[in-house]
Symmetry: C2
Subunit: 120 residues, 2 copies
Amino acid sequence: MADEERLELCECECIHDDVVCAVNEKLQPAREYENLAALLKLFADATRVKLLHALEQHELCVCDLAVLLGVTKSAVSHQLKLLRMSNLVKSRREGQIVYYSLADDHVRQIIDMGFEHLWE
Amino acid sequence: MADEERLELCECECIHDDVVCAVNEKLQPAREYENLAALLKLFADATRVKLLHALEQHELCVCDLAVLLGVTKSAVSHQLKLLRMSNLVKSRREGQIVYYSLADDHVRQIIDMGFEHLWE
DNA sequence: TGAATAGTTGAGCAGTTGTTCAACTATTGA
DNA sequence: TCAATAGTTGAACAACTGCTCAACTATTCA
């Protein structure tokens, strides 16, 4: 690490200079934590995580999801837009109906990991 | 599933009755999604997830964390209280200094899973 | 005992989030 | 071509969140 950066970090009333600087070297750039938080934020809402868990079981259209979640189609559509833009779900249109499904397996893994923590 | 519940779910202008009801049987009770969302919400903030990632590397006191995260001790203390109450971190006091560390390995697993998704 | 320092807490504020409502587009089928 | 239905979108609003500030407690040490 550059000396200037070390100073910038540790010249305050810092208690464990050595440990702080060692840990700091192992951390990721700020941007990575923003991206990670933005990703995990998509799971941080009961409606949205239930929606994702439902899509884990079967592909579903907006109406189906609205019924399952007990909210309006509009609310579902807003959430799906978020999830689609974040590449967590994908969609295919068949006539008037748009079917949504999970884009990859990470969704399942993160939800499973969460439940595992809660249930142990 | 009880007939009444099925009706309650599907008597609306629901498009795929059968699929919706099958999926509904696989879903968890509402409370589970609230708990899961509450858990994952703790990772859904850049400061907090960086804090957890730092604790993954080494136990740290409040001052150390404040320096690493670039926020006040007060802000760190507020976040640590949240994380402590949720059993994600634990603390030990040594004189004036309180050292924080991760309470179990799920934190690491969830963060790693998130980074894996971002980096693939 | 009293000054210094680590940490905690509550109030208050700015910024964000999830929802509904109403208006819109897209597609189907008579 | 027009009505019906699936879905999308933007505005608006209430609820929530994360931060700082100021005041507090806890511990050490001279």
